[in-house]
Structure formats: C-alpha cells, structure tokens
C-alpha cells in the first residue's frame, strides 16, 4: 500500500490533522495554509509533470486549492485528501489543456532556478529535468497520467485506476506501453550524447 504523503509539523498525528482540518473548516486561513503546505508539492509537481509548464502547473495548483477550500465541509477526514487532490489535479490539467495550448514549451519547463550553486551542477540538473520532461512528452495523455501517478508519484495500480476513473487492466496496459516508450527515449538520448 502506497503512502500518499509525508507528514510534517502540526499535522504529524491524526489528532493534529483532525484539529487543523476542523480549524480550516471554521474559516481559519492559517490552518488552511498548513494543509496547503502539506500537499503543495504533490499537487504542483503532478501538474508540472502532466502539463510540462511551470506557469500552467501553478495556475492549476491555485485552482485545486481554491476548490479544496470550497469543499472542505464535505471532507470527513484528511485521509481523503490525497485521492481527492490527485483526481481534481488531473481533471484541472485536462481542462486547462482544452482551454489553452501550453504556454511554455515542454522542454523549457525544466528551466527553473535550483539550489545548486555550481554552474556545472546546475547544467546537469537542468539536463536531467529536460530529459524527464521530454520523455513524458512523447507519451499520450493517458499514458502520461498513468505513468506519472504510478511510477513517479508512487500510487498503486488500483489507486491510479480510481483517480483516472478507468479499470486496472487499462491502467496496466497504459503503464507498460509508457515504460517501454520511456526506456527507448532515455536510451536513445544518452546514446546520442555519448
């Protein structure tokens, strides 16, 4: 069973999570900010992998958290957050792709300043991000969703099927095709570099 999240701070214990959720439901924005901090990486990075554009991923993240705030009253326990957030994130990415073309080319999405001070390290990190984005770009939308959730976010096949609203057999088929395609791309990329 995959653990969806790593807990930190006042949301360490189930009691702490429950009290933070109650406070957020009562309109406490500081409590809601704690919830956001808990899940922001999950939402932003998933959207970034699916869309390939940081600006678009940030727009989607904002939309997802505003939707979460509006739906806090329906959430009984914070254990339901991850599955709900993944589903809403994937749907929001769908909607955004339909609304507008990618604002930043996929390969440019990796051009983000990172903590590495050494220019050589920065270059290497930038290249890794670029290869990652490009290998996801060669996949179909469904294959990308399945691979990102299963192999990168670490959900089980059953959880991926639930998030995507499809059968486990379909997800397995999409994942296997995606893995073969990514393998081929990564090998070709590094062979060319050598």
């Amino acid at each position: 069973m995959t653990t969806f999240l790593a807990t930190v701070g006042p949301m360490d214990s189930p009691e702490g999570r429950s009290s933070v959720l109650d406070a957020a439901k009562a309109g406490d924005l500081a409590a809601f900010e704690q919830i956001m901090r808990q899940y922001e990486r999950m939402v932003l990075v998933t959207a970034l992998r699916l869309l390939g554009s940081l600006a678009d991923a940030q727009d989607v993240s904002q939309e997802v958290f505003l939707k979460l705030y509006r739906n806090l009253g329906k959430v009984e326990s914070s254990a339901a957050f991850p599955g709900w957030l993944y589903r809403v994130t994937v749907n929001a990415c769908h909607d955004l792709r339909r609304r507008r073309p990618p604002s930043v080319p996929m390969e440019d999405a990796g051009e983000m300043p990172s903590g590495e001070a050494d220019p050589q390290q920065q270059t290497a990190a930038g290249e890794r991000r670029r290869v990652l984005e490009m290998s996801l770009r060669i996949l179909s939308e469904k294959e990308r969703e399945a691979l990102v959730l299963r192999d990168l976010e670490g959900l089980s096949t059953e959880e991926v099927a639930r998030v995507l609203g499809s059968s486990e057999a379909t997800v397995r088929s999409q994942i296997s095709k995606a893995r073969v395609k990514v393998k081929g791309f990564v090998e070709r990329y590094f062979r060319r570099r050598v």
Binding site: Q58, D151, L152, S176
Partner: protein
C-alpha cells in the same frame, strides 16, 4: 516464442505490477533469454532515472507563489462586500440604471375633470299648449367649457347643468333648483 510478446509483461514486471504466478514465468524466461535480460535492465534503469529526477526538489519559491495567490484570493473573497472594488461598480451601475428608468418612464395620462356647462334656463311662465313636444334644452357647445362660477341667481331659479365627459357619447343633463345652494 517471439521476445516481442514478452515486452508488456517485462514492462509490468519492472515496476512490480505482475501477479506472483506471471512474475515467476517472466523470471523463468529471463533466466534463459539474454536479450530480454538486457531489455528488462534497460526498463528498470530508465524507470529509476525518471523517479530520481522527479524526486529532485523544486525551489521553494514556486510553492510559496501558489500559496500566496490562494491565500490572497481567499482573503479577497472573505472581505465584506462593501470593501470589495466590484461592489462600488455594481452600485454605480444600479444607480445609473435607475436614473435612466426614471428619465424614460412614460407618464400616465392626466385625467381632466369633466367640463361642466351651466346654463340659465328660466322656468316657463306658462305651459304652451301649442307645443306638444318639449323643445330640446339649449346646449352650449362643449368645446368651450364655462368655468364654474357662482353667479347671482334668484332663489327658486332653475338651471340646466350639462356635464360633458371625455367620452363624446356620454353627456349628462340635469335641471337643478338653485334654492338652498
């Protein structure tokens, strides 16, 4: 068996997505097929690389920017409506619409009081035997209504009152005695 047929199972095996019996079959095949061993190790290596790159941290500023946007939006939504910019716009639009409505609203027609014509009509001194039919009362044209005006009438004098309404087909006559006015 063609090794192409093993591709899908090898891909699932690489991620641990096969049930135990199928995983055992794949392992048996791998034990006797160097080509599939190479393919399988390539799958695992690519998967590991992707997962490793995916796990590299993003700059905290990217998350902080989203958080700030969400909190600002929530603060804006929670502000009382009179402190929101759009409330003034809506109020101004409503006022403008009301003013326009008042300016162009058609006024209801004002009903004029019916014109009343009062005519002195001295009572007949004596019945005229020659006249069998009573002559029609003299009527002033309604076009020039006579303003109602007290006049010095003799007690017991009869007056003929003609009331002209807005409907040209309705004209009312009556004879009144001025006594006791």
């Amino acid at each position: 068996m063609n090794c192409k047929d093993w591709e899908e199972r090898l891909a699932l095996y690489a991620g641990g997505d096969l049930p135990p019996d199928q995983a055992a079959a794949v392992e048996r095949h791998l034990g006797e097929c160097p080509g599939c061993q190479l393919f399988s190790s390539g799958l695992k290596e690519a998967g590991q690389r992707l997962a490793e790159w995916h796990g590299e941290p993003l700059p905290a500023a990217h998350f902080a920017a989203v958080r700030a946007r969400v909190l600002a939006e929530l603060e804006r939504q929670r502000r009382p409506f009179w402190r929101r910019g759009w409330a003034y716009g809506v109020a101004a639009a409503v006022m403008a619409a009301l003013l326009v409505l008042l300016a162009v609203k058609p006024r209801p027609p004002v009903l004029q009081p019916p014109a009343v014509a009062i005519d002195r009509h001295p009572p007949p001194a004596a019945p005229d035997p020659a006249a069998d039919r009573p002559a029609p009362p003299p009527v002033r044209p309604a076009a020039t209504p006579i303003p109602r005006k007290r006049h010095a009438s003799q007690p017991g004098e009869q007056v003929l009152i003609r009331v002209v309404s807005n409907d040209p087909d309705v004209v009312i006559y009556w004879i009144a005695d001025t006594r006791g006015e």
